[in-house]
Structure formats: C-alpha cells, structure tokens
C-alpha cells in the first residue's frame, strides 16, 4: 500500500517508461540534479554510438572500451557545466572528441605497434571488418581528419554540430571533410591498384 502510494507520488519523469521518452538533454539535466538512474539511461542510450565511435577511432576493442568509459565518466563529472538551454549533442561530442584526443596523446604504444598512429585493421582488432579497404584507409588518416569524418558520417552529427564539437567554423569543417574524403579516396584507389 505504502509502496503503491510512493510510486504514485513519484514524478512521471522518474519512471523508467517516462524516462525512455525523454531527450538526451533532459536526461542530462536530471542527472545534473543527482539522478543516477537518468544518467544510466543516458549512458545506455548513447553507448552504442560512443563505443562505435571509439572503436572506429582506435580500432581496438579493449581501448574502445576504456575510451568509452572515460568519455562517460568525464561526462558525469562535467554535467554541472552543461547548459540545458543549449543542445546536448554538440556539447557532448565536443567532450567526447577532446577526451579521444587526450586519450590518444597519453596512449602508450604496445611493443608490437609499429606506430602509435597506425591503428590495427580488419580481424586484427578482434572484430571482422566488412569493408577492409575503407578501414585501412581510415587507419592511415591523420586523427585531425579522422575525427570530423567519424563525427559526421559515423556519429551522424550535422555539419554545424561537428564544427561546434571541434571548435571550428562550418566552412573550415567542410574543407577538412573534403580533404579527408579526398585522402580516403586516394587510399582506396591505391589499394585497388595494389589488389589488381
């Protein structure tokens, strides 16, 4: 009886069903107020995209796990800085991009790594690649080009949000994306020639 009354007294946004309907920004706002359930829902909702982004950036399952965890922990610690009046996604992806850049900087190359920037490809990473040529080409890209490519085409952020996330102008991000795609195209052409 008491439990039922208590459940009825809860605000609608506190119930799991109602929480599932909330936008990411609203969940972040609730989490800022100390609602850990709202934060967990936010993590569950974003984990696939963030983990995929981390994996495509690092091409290593363990490191993708570490980076994803680091991004979410940093999100939690920085929630107080989130302005609920502004869209959540650009703010979040800016934090994710900065965390990824710092993660790569402090990353210790393994003895088997030929280069810290040369990511593993295909099945070496523990996950079969369905487009190994593109994976190879992406791995060869400088992180300065790889990040906007991943944010725009993989995390599906519109150009203005990619620009906000990386603190550059929209024309600058457009130009960087064009350059990145041209580099990918050249790598793909080279791998095609090598395969023939």
């Amino acid at each position: 009886m008491h439990a039922q009354a208590a459940a009825q007294a809860l605000p609608m946004t506190g119930t799991p069903d109602a929480r599932a309907l909330l936008a990411a920004g609203q969940l972040a706002e609730q989490a800022t107020g100390g609602d850990l359930d709202a934060f967990e829902e936010l993590v569950r909702r974003m984990q696939r995209r963030v983990y995929g982004f981390a994996y495509q950036h690092l091409r290593d399952l363990d490191e993708a796990h570490d980076l994803t965890q680091e991004i979410f922990v940093k999100l939690y610690r920085n929630l107080a800085r989130y302005d609920a009046e502004r869209p959540f996604e650009p703010w979040f992806w800016k934090l994710a991009a900065n965390t990824s850049i710092n993660y790569r900087r402090k990353r210790v190359p393994m003895p088997t790594d030929q280069s810290a920037d040369q990511a593993t490809t295909g099945s070496e990473s523990g996950f079969p690649a369905h487009d190994p040529a593109l994976i190879d080409a992406l791995a060869q890209l400088d992180p300065a080009y790889r990040l906007p490519i991943l944010l725009h085409y993989y995390a599906d952020l519109p150009l203005d949000q990619v620009a906000q996330s990386l603190s550059v102008t929209v024309p600058a991000i457009k130009s960087r994306l064009h350059r990145a795609r041209a580099l990918l195209r050249n790598s793909l052409a080279e791998s095609e020639e090598a395969g023939q």
């Binding site: 993590v43 983990y51 363990d62 994803t68 487009d131 064009h178 795609r181 195209r185 052409a189």
Partner: protein, 179 residues
C-alpha cells in the same frame, strides 16, 4: 572555358559531389562535369568520391559489451562505505592523544611540557657546543617525547594509507582489459 587538367579535377571532386562547387563556382562545376565525360580515370575517381560517404555510414562496429554500463556506473558511484570506515583507523591515535592531553592536565600541562622541552633542547645545544656539561633530562620527559614522536609517525602512516585508499576509489579504466 579552358579544359581542366586531371589533377585540378581531382582536387575539386569532393566539393563537386556535395554540390558546393556548383554554388561557389558554377563555371568550374561545369568544367568538371565536362571533364568527367571524356576522362575515364577521373570518372572512376568520381565514383569513389560519391561512394565514400555511403561506405562510411555503412561501417559496422561491434556492440558494446554488457559490462560497459555497469563499469561506468560503478566508476561514478559514491565513495564506498569501507573507504569512509577506514578513517576509523585514526581513532586509536585520537584516543591516545586525548589521554596524553588529559594526563598532562590540559593547557598548563602542555605549557610545562613545552618549556621543559625547550630548556632540555637548550641544555643539549650548550652541551653540543662544549660550553656546558651533559644535562640531566628526566626519564619521564624522554618517554613522553618518544610517545609523541611515535604517535606522530603512526598518524602520518595512517594518513598516507587513507590518501591512497581515496585515490583508489577514483575510476580505474584498465581493469576491464583482457589479460
């Protein structure tokens, strides 16, 4: 309009594919289109340029492990009770300190200890410089001084342990790594 060289066309392919070139420089866009009609190599590059965004969007990634959410939530969880309870290690020091304070009868006793310790140190300094004989320090003073030094050492050691415990309560990202 002069015909474009292949190298120039390839630089313009991405803005051409996105439609940006047609907006910023319609004449150049027309020249690229004309070039593509006659050059099979650039046409192939154009096909690649068109396909890259679609291939990027079609990239697959592994599903996040089930442990991810649990790991994140445990990393941000409030400090465990055991860590806070560890501060109870300081209780013996506090009790011992309180006992010593009570034994030396509060502020008067402390003043007496301080003045006694100062005169003892002065005596030792004079003895060290060869201007006075070795002072006769009471055994109780030596024991009390020893107790204070021991207490300070134990308290410092416990504080360092507690500081390490607090640091270990912060997220540890490598614990999920494979062996």
């Amino acid at each position: 309009m002069t015909a474009l060289a292949c190298a120039r066309v390839r630089v313009l392919l991405e803005p051409y594919v996105d439609g940006d070139l047609a907006q910023s420089d319609p004449e150049a866009a027309r020249a690229v289109r004309d070039h593509l009609v006659t050059c099979s190599d650039c046409r192939h590059q154009h096909q690649q340029a068109v396909s890259v965004p679609f291939r990027m969007k079609a990239l697959r990634s592994p599903a996040p492990p089930a442990s991810l959410v649990v790991g994140v939530m445990s990393s941000i969880a409030p400090q465990p009770r055991t860590s806070r309870a560890a501060w109870g290690l300081l209780v013996p020091e506090a009790l011992l300190g309180a006992f010593i304070l009570w034994y030396v009868s509060g502020l008067d006793g402390l003043t007496a200890i301080a003045s006694g310790a100062w005169s003892n140190l002065q005596g030792l300094a004079f003895w060290g410089s060869g201007t006075a004989p070795l002072p006769n320090v009471p055994v109780a003073d030596v024991l009390l001084l020893g107790a204070f030094i021991t207490l300070t050492g134990i308290a410092a050691y416990h504080l360092s342990l507690l500081a390490k415990l607090d640091q270990s309560a912060t997220p540890h990202f490598t614990e999920h790594r494979r062996a």
